[in-house]
Symmetry: C2
Subunit: 635 residues, 2 copies
């Protein structure tokens, strides 16, 4: 073999890695300070306590519109014994006007009567009444803000009122970000075979911003030891921290660890965390330099666990606490004792309990981070959790939002994305979340109480009827079907149909590579039914065992050079620019326990199904027919 690989990584537990690194950093890291105008200080952190230079108000001030008087002059005034204050013995004042000796009280405008000689009053004024004394709000010398305080708009107002124009704050750490890799291209470049669009550094630079740092993203460096070394070395001198991505693993072209060993000290290489294992924690000339893995989810988790806390230390920013919720996990998660694992989950509230459904666990599944509502963290000491077990979820979305979400688990269709888009626009505060496990998977989730709705399209071979018999068979409680759409299923083939596929029978032809759906998917049920009708054995279909989880995934495989045909809906074929041979029309409906019919988010869902706006979107997508969408059929 031509290529040479480093030894496999030996990892250490997350907490141990963190402690080792932070201990090493403590002796070298210095917090830098700078003085800035108060007007520009929003969200900055004070370095010392700040004391008022002026009092506020700056003088004794009238608290009312009225007249300033000398309290002694008003003694004994009453309704039966009114006192006349002659012109010159009082002063007209508006709220906020200064009060000077000899005046020491204010009488409200509505309590005086103008007379020829001056004003008449019918009650005596107590000394200092209706006067805001100097320093009532802020006394000069008083502490306004403690050190380590994050400055808010109100603080800026008060600081200026107290005569503070400039303050000393913690300097925001300057972070250099280096994408590396020969195969990576910039997003604006045209991808070639094997190209990977470099997007991690763009995610990092924004995570740096969120963590209070200043970002400096450099152009990608190819996998060249000297180039990486020289650029990283130069950046160490001009920045407070350096991030290198990726090359942090132990592959043939993973130079980062060697570069950092030459430049400084590698404290940790390899952490028992999944995803995110090949992390490098190094110190070069007193500056933290961190190598992060290339898979986007690993990169994200590596940043959150190691870069963010270092930025917090340097910027003296308070740790952001994550909201958590106790939820029942919807399926068994096996995890190794070799690592702490971050499993992305969708979270919903169904009935009176929260439910967490695990998403794709691959390190490359960046979209799963976008779709996730939170993380289920499985500690290294745990071998996993059983289905239904209560687990602690670190939330991304607010609990309130989750509580107003219709939870959908079942068969995938593009219209679910459309619904998710319409819902918060038409019904502010309401959301739709969907997880795609196929029709049977959806009904099973419904039975376990993990979803409000299960989208299904299950053909009863015996009756030719869709959906009803399956729901009847599987549930004892009163159920309903919310009618959805009729949709056209067919065979998706490459543009121009080069293999001349015109029906199910042609799929068994030599040289045709089929891409199938997973067991339990409505489309799989349909395909198996069609095969049986045509008298074809599954073994005759090349690729029968190659299972994809969604219409779009099948379409993508057919569009690539790895597949020739697959069954799916017209909208998926159109989205990927494929040809489409219709096979039949099926009913795509939503199974629901009747007790969920009055959940507000479900109500909104039904209204959208009936709406013109939704029907218009379906026309744009193509391949759907609407007959009775939103109708409720009790079962």
């Amino acid at each position: 073999m031509a290529k040479k690989r480093n030894l496999y990584l030996k990892t250490i537990p997350v907490e141990e890695a963190r402690e080792k690194y932070f201990t090493a950093l403590e002796s070298v890291l210095s917090v830098k300070l700078e003085t800035i105008p108060v007007t520009e200080s929003l969200d900055r952190i004070t370095s010392t306590a700040i004391f008022a230079r002026y009092s506020s108000p700056l003088f004794n001030a009238s608290a009312m519109d009225g007249i300033a008087v000398t309290a002694e002059d008003t003694a004994n005034a009453s309704e039966v014994n009114p006192v006349i204050l002659p012109e010159g013995s009082y002063q007209i004042v508006d709220t906020g006007d200064p009060i000077h000796p000899p005046y020491d009280a204010v009488i409200m405008a509505e309590d005086i009567v103008e007379v020829e000689e001056g004003v008449k009053i019918i009650a005596s004024a107590a000394p200092w009444q209706h006067i805001r004394p100097i320093g009532e709000d802020i006394v000069s010398g008083e502490m306004i803000l403690p050190s380590n305080h994050k400055i808010r708009p109100i603080d800026i107002g008060v600081l200026l009122s107290a005569g503070i124009l400039e303050i000393e704050v913690i300097k925001r750490p300057e972070v250099a970000i280096f994408p590396t890799g020969t195969e990576i291209i910039e997003p604006e470049d045209d991808p070639e075979d094997g190209s990977i669009i470099e997007s991690n550094s763009r995610m990092f630079e924004n995570m740096v911003t969120v963590a209070g740092g200043i970002r400096h993203r450099f152009p990608p460096i190819i996998d060249n030891y000297e180039m990486i070394r020289d650029q990283v070395s130069a950046a160490v001198d001009t920045h407070d921290m350096v991030i290198v991505n990726a090359g942090s693993s132990a592959g043939t072209e993973d130079f980062t660890v060697h570069v950092l060993r030459e430049l400084g000290e590698v404290i940790v290489h390899g952490v028992s965390i999944k995803p995110g294992k090949p992390v490098i924690l190094a110190i070069v000339r007193g500056k933290p330099v961190i190598g992060l893995p290339g898979y986007p989810v690993s990169a994200y988790i590596g940043f959150e666990n190691f870069v963010q806390p270092v930025l917090q230390m340097m910027g003296k920013r308070p740790e952001q606490l994550t909201e958590t919720v106790e939820a029942a996990i919807s399926k068994r998660l096996v995890s190794s004792l070799k690592h702490k694992e971050y499993v992305r989950v969708k979270v919903g509230k169904v009935g009176d309990k929260f439910v967490a459904a695990p998403l794709a666990r691959g390190a490359g599944a960046a979209m799963s981070l976008v779709r996730a509502d939170g993380f289920c963290v499985i500690e290294q000491t745990s071998e996993g959790v059983e289905a239904g077990e209560m687990v602690n979820i670190e939330l991304y979305r607010s609990k309130d939002e989750i509580e107003h979400t219709a939870v959908i688990i079942g068969s995938h269709d593009l219209i679910l994305d459309v619904m998710a888009d319409i819902m918060p626009n038409e019904y502010p505060g309401m959301h739709v979340t969907s997880t795609h496990v196929g029709s049977m998977g959806g009904l099973m989730a419904l039975r376990r109480g993990e979803a409000h709705l299960a989208p299904i399209h299950l053909l009863d071979e015996a009756t030719g009827e869709y959906n009803v018999s399956y729901v009847k068979r599987m549930f004892k409680e009163p159920m309903a079907l919310i009618k959805g759409v009729d949709r056209i299923q067919g065979i998706m083939v490459k543009k121009g149909n080069p293999l001349g596929i015109n029906g199910i029978a042609d799929l068994a032809k030599d040289g045709v590579r089929y891409v199938n759906r997973q067991r339990g998917a409505g489309t799989r049920v349909l395909f198996d039914y069609q095969l049986k009708q045509a008298g074809i054995q599954p073994e005759a279909i090349k690729g029968y065992d190659r299972e994809m989880a969604t219409h779009m995934a099948v379409a993508a495989a057919v569009a690539s050079d790895s597949g020739d045909a697959g069954m799916g809906v017209l909208s998926a074929a159109q989205a990927m620019d494929l040809d489409f041979i219709p096979v039949g029309v099926e009913e795509y409906d939503f199974a629901i326990p009747q007790r969920f019919l009055d959940v507000p988010a479900v109500q909104a869902f039904i209204e959208i199904l009936k709406s013109d706006g939704f029907h218009k979107k379906l026309e744009e997508l193509g391949g759907y027919e609407v007959r009775n969408a939103g109708e409720i059929v009790e079962i």
Copy 2:
């Protein structure tokens, strides 16, 4: 009377005002869009759903380091029947490398043995094993983000991976802010008599930033009808919204409402809200123009209630939910049926309940907003709440922070500020909060279970001993004193002591204006004791009834032209540059129920009292002696 006043404002309820205004705005307000680079889109709001342009991965990719093979070639390989793949029939691949036909499977590096002719394998490869299929993460055409989504760092990474370089987002509303008033000065100007430092506009511009708008703060305009009219009119054409501050009330120089009536339509003038009543909600040529009151707290509450929701509408930003907590209010709050009232409160957790202590209610008390942990909102339909009643508090600080705070209510001393500054630095996550109600007030709060600690300095006239007898008398449960500091009390007089005050007796001299502390304050107890010793009647002291709540407030009054002498501590006199005639040394200690001694924040508090760092700070302040700080005396 020379000056003319407008009619008094007629107000309408907050919700009614909001509905009236928003309804009027709905028909004129338009949401503006703009297209920006994805790399610059952090925190922006998507205007439409965004669909992937590319799949990710872009190609079938190896998920492992190893070799790409044709699965068929490996059929039947086993330990007893190894298969040799000759050079040229496989390809060495790293993770992420593309896999092309004829290869359709990957075998991991650790499962192959290099031999002379090629590689030896001892297990067959299943088709598509260890291959990440094209579109595994993102399928082109798939929805990545819905509309109205606030963009996060991870979204930016995924958008770029999916080939999206630019996106359409909601334009951030441009907001013009006009400070007005003849008496206002810029913070950098030297204040003269009657000057008010203009700081509201600086608070507003940062509130605009936080609410997602773009700020344009204009220089102050004097109270001149034409100038205000012309500048506001010009700004309406070039901005999406205009804020005018202040002149929104009905005073002699309050032009704003007249200007807005001339330029457009005033929908609401005067809202039943306290503080914040004189709000003007207007529409000028289709743009929202809002007049806000001048008092800082009124300005803040007016902004939160009216400007912020309009900015949210224009920017399509989701409403920020405020964390709330149920807390027992520590004293009776009477509120009028004339308005909805926002009372600022300090919140603490004492024992197992949350307690809210009301702060200053004045509209000018901006510092109370800085010090507040939240608002107790008293609805217009309520006449107030009784002491001990459970109320809902809208929190500013996180509940977690509040749960780790030592709650101190009692006598004020500058060392409490010093403690509040040291605590979170030395004990991350721990805080001190203090409310100043005098020594007796503190003991009463302690008895009601509203505080952990009460700082007191109460002289027992009978024994000459400090603090112990008071605590003994007032509590049945086991109590302790945490020893604090010995501090010097004395008479504070103007610099140079122009009235020649040398002791208590001199305070009764003609022309001496005394500034007193409130009943129940330890300093008041001491003063009354000293008067009695000197045989002086309180009536002989001019200003005996003029009560201030803190040492610093007394010092500020003495430093101004409204007072000549007051009793207080040396540090306060020094902070305000006053002369100081020592009267005696007193013991300033912390009363505490023994059951709170092991509360973590209290433990930290005790450690700080004992620490060298704290003692050094005391030396800097001056006027303190440390003998046994942090010692616990059980009572």
